[in-house]
């Protein structure tokens, strides 16, 4: 199943919020050590973002890809 663009966008919004959420924000710890995107989606929903596991997985991959790309561009300029 492929997530819709709007589902992925919501998940990305959640990750952007997560990046700058205050330390100590409820539920930021306690995710399982297994590879489990349902747990990430559940955390998003508890934080007010309606996210499915598959959209959470896709958004996380995109988020990290963009970061990796911008980091390598930064290195190249340096």
């Amino acid at each position: 199943m492929i997530p819709t663009p709007s589902q992925v966008q919501t998940a990305l919004d959640f990750l952007v919020w997560l990046r700058s959420a205050e330390d100590g924000t409820e539920n930021l710890e306690g995710l399982p050590a297994s590879i489990d995107y349902e747990a990430l989606a559940a955390l998003a929903r508890r934080s007010g973002y309606q996210v499915t596991a598959i959209a959470a997985a896709e958004a996380f991959r995109m988020f990290m890809r963009v970061r990796a790309f911008s980091t390598s561009r930064g290195s190249a300029r340096a």
Binding site: E29, L31, A33, S34, I35, F60, F63, M64, R67, G74
Partner: protein
């Protein structure tokens, strides 16, 4: 933000078939790992016999601030280390005591397989003892600190125990001592490094080891030839036990290091490793990242990844750490493998930080001595050197011949090492020649370097005659000279028929080297293949300084005009290019062939080269070997480049060049 250690297991399990650990055992191990400090650096100790599925758990703790903070948080929450009350007390002190951390920079914690509830017992603690090659007084001071720690952990010492610490000297040292707190008798495991090939028998006798010395020594010598390093592990509990373990370490991972497969094949032949487990281990190493399409990232690590600084990119390194062969009291052998998993935040810089530059403006003789020290300190236990890492592994035969050639003329210590290397290489001669390594067919370049080595140590060895005949077999009827002779079989992993015309064509760089051995047979080829600018173009190297210097040296008497044109090219290269240490070394040698002005320029270049020396005596890696497609006939810009990452090849080239300048100055 914590990175739970158990996340490592989520990324290790997919690489392991159930024969290593079934689902029930994985759950037990995961429950145990979940109680450990949030230091994402675990390893699994895996049994290799078909029917043995026990798995032990290891964690490496370093003195990096992140590890110390993770430990502090763990203890503040009431976290434990299995049943290790003494271990917790020691680690609490270690966190507080910066002096202690300076001496003990890393600690290995090793738990036996947890019980059915996932409860861990007391861990064994392994502490580093002797640094590699320190001064004796430094070594004694460090040992005192570590022995005091061991006493606090409940280990009692007697005067007679000194045998296990003192009945040997360099190059042998103690790498680690382990306190086996989890075992019924709280004994020690002592790991000795640097035992030379052929030296285990005397070492064990000096220690009065009670086991089967002959059997152990025979096995050890075989394993040394298949490994980069072999550590000898002995048990000590007031007296030495008769069990012996060999820990086998290789610098590269299986994809680029064929000796892993060779070691596992040996284990299979001995009946201590199943073929299926061996294949799984060879395929296990990988580098994983959260941006991969299959995105194998533990949920508990996601928040840390999202919230990390922009220049932090998480990745996971799954590595085959080492293998171990143990010979028990009754002589029975068992084998284990150690698969490690570690979370990292930044990519590894493949060029690495190679250390600070040594103090500038030292005498050339002093620079050469330091470089010789580096080469001698970086020999393998079998007396040879390894460098470069290509798909077919690192090179030992070819690199060792080149390095030993430089050492043969670099003083008594260097000469001794060169003679030892020549003896080892003599045992490895195949079809009259030598190759890149034991997995590669013999070739003209490697064989020419061995012949130069034999000449350099004044040895008219029995090996030289067939080697010379082998080398002559590379001369073509049209006066060409190839790296691989028509009779030499070349096989490739890709299978099928591969066009290898490029590798078998005439190569000026190899001819230039071999001309130093075969002489006039190669003069016409060299004279005919010189470029208009005076250089010779390399097939196997990205740059031409080495080929040009070797060709000019070979022709300096026979064709002085050609040598003169080469020297002029070298002068230009010094001014228009910014040569690295490797090319600079060959340009020094080239200019030493010229007139007084050229030799003055060579001295200035030698000074430049000397100032590039690093604090450990080495020179920055600059030898850029090419690995072209076998069909490619001439050098192309898209060939894969491999640098001498251990800096041995460049350092040997620098030793040869600087020694030549120094010798000319002192005449």
């Amino acid at each position: 933000m914590d990175l739970p250690a158990v996340g490592c297991l989520a990324l290790l399990w997919p690489a392991l078939p159930q024969t290593f650990a079934d689902d029930a055992l994985r759950q037990v191990l995961s429950r145990g790992a979940a109680t450990l400090p949030a230091i994402p650096r675990l390893a699994l100790e895996l049994r290799l016999a078909e029917s043995d599925a026990a798995v032990d758990l290891h964690q490496l703790v370093t003195s990096h601030p992140e590890d110390l903070e993770a430990l502090e948080r763990h203890f503040a929450r009431g976290g434990r280390l299995g049943q290790g009350g003494e271990t917790v007390a020691f680690l609490r002190q270690w966190i507080e005591d910066a002096d202690l951390r300076r001496e003990i920079g890393e600690i290995f914690l090793e738990w036996d397989q947890p019980d059915g509830n996932g409860d861990l017992g007391a861990p064994a603690i392994f502490l580093p003892i002797d640094r590699k090659g320190p001064a004796e007084d430094d070594r004694n001071a460090r040992r005192k600190v570590v022995l005091a720690v061991l006493q606090r952990l409940g280990v009692e010492w007697q005067e007679s125990d000194e045998t296990v610490f003192g009945a040997f000297g360099p190059p042998i040292s103690i790498s680690h001592i382990g306190v086996m707190l989890g075992r019924r008798s709280c004994g020690l495991r002592i790991n000795y490094r640097g035992v030379p090939r052929g030296g285990l028998e005397n070492f064990l006798r000096a220690l009065q080891w009670p086991g089967d010395v002959g059997r152990a020594a025979e096995e050890f010598d075989i394993l040394v030839d298949l490994s980069d390093r072999v550590t000898v592990a002995l048990d000590f509990d007031g007296r030495l036990g008769s069990r012996i373990g060999f820990e086998l370490l290789l610098d590269g991972q299986p994809v680029q290091e064929p000796r892993w497969r060779a070691l596992l094949r040996r284990f299979e032949t001995m009946g201590v490793c199943s073929a299926a487990k061996a294949e799984a281990l060879l395929a296990a190493p990988d580098v994983l990242s959260p941006e991969q399409a299959d995105q194998p990232w533990p949920a508990a690590w996601i928040i840390a990844a999202v919230r990390s600084a922009p220049d932090c990119r998480p990745w996971f390194d799954r590595r085959l750490s080492h293998l171990k062969l143990t010979l028990a009291d009754d002589g029975a052998a068992t084998a284990k493998a150690y698969l490690s998993g570690q979370h990292h935040w930044k990519p590894v810089d493949p060029n690495g930080a190679v250390g600070a530059t040594a103090e500038a403006s030292r005498e050339i003789a002093e620079v050469v001595e330091a470089a010789v020290d580096f080469l001698l300190n970086n020999r393998r236990q079998n007396g040879l050197w390894n460098d470069f890492r290509i798909a077919n592994g690192s090179s030992d035969d070819w690199v060792s011949a080149f390095v030993a050639c430089a050492l043969a003329a670099a003083g008594a210590r260097g000469r001794r090492a060169a003679i030892e290397a020549a003896a080892r290489l003599a045992e490895r001669q195949r079809s009259g020649g030598w190759g890149y390594n034991a997995f590669s067919p013999p070739d003209a370049d490697s064989t020419a370097w061995v012949l130069k080595l034999l000449a350099g140590i004044g040895d008219s060895a029995a090996e030289a005659h067939p080697a010379r005949a082998f080398l002559l077999g590379h001369l073509g009827v049209a006066g060409t000279f190839a790296t691989y002779a028509p009779a030499t079989p070349l096989t490739f992993d890709r299978g099928g028929s591969i066009d290898d015309a490029g590798w078998r064509s005439s190569h000026a760089c190899v001819a230039a080297n071999a001309a130093g051995v075969l002489g006039q047979a190669l003069w016409p080829l060299l004279i005919g293949s010189q470029e208009a600018d005076g250089s010779w173009i390399s097939y196997w190297w990205k740059t031409d300084a080495m080929a040009t210097a070797l060709a000019a040296e070979a022709l300096s008497d026979a064709a002085p005009d050609a040598a003169e044109r080469a020297v002029a090219w070298g002068r230009d290269m010094l001014t228009v290019a910014d040569p690295n240490a490797f090319d600079l070394a060959w340009l020094v040698r080239l200019l030493m062939l010229g007139e007084a002005d050229d030799r003055a320029a060579a001295r200035a270049a030698a000074r430049r080269l000397a100032d590039l020396q690093l604090a450990d005596g080495s020179f920055p890696a600059g030898a850029q070997m090419l690995f072209p497609e076998p069909a490619v006939l001439a050098r192309r810009g898209d060939a894969a480049v491999y640098v001498d990452e251990f800096r041995l090849f460049t350092t040997a080239a620098a030793v040869a060049a600087l020694r030549q300048v120094h010798q000319a100055d002192t005449k």
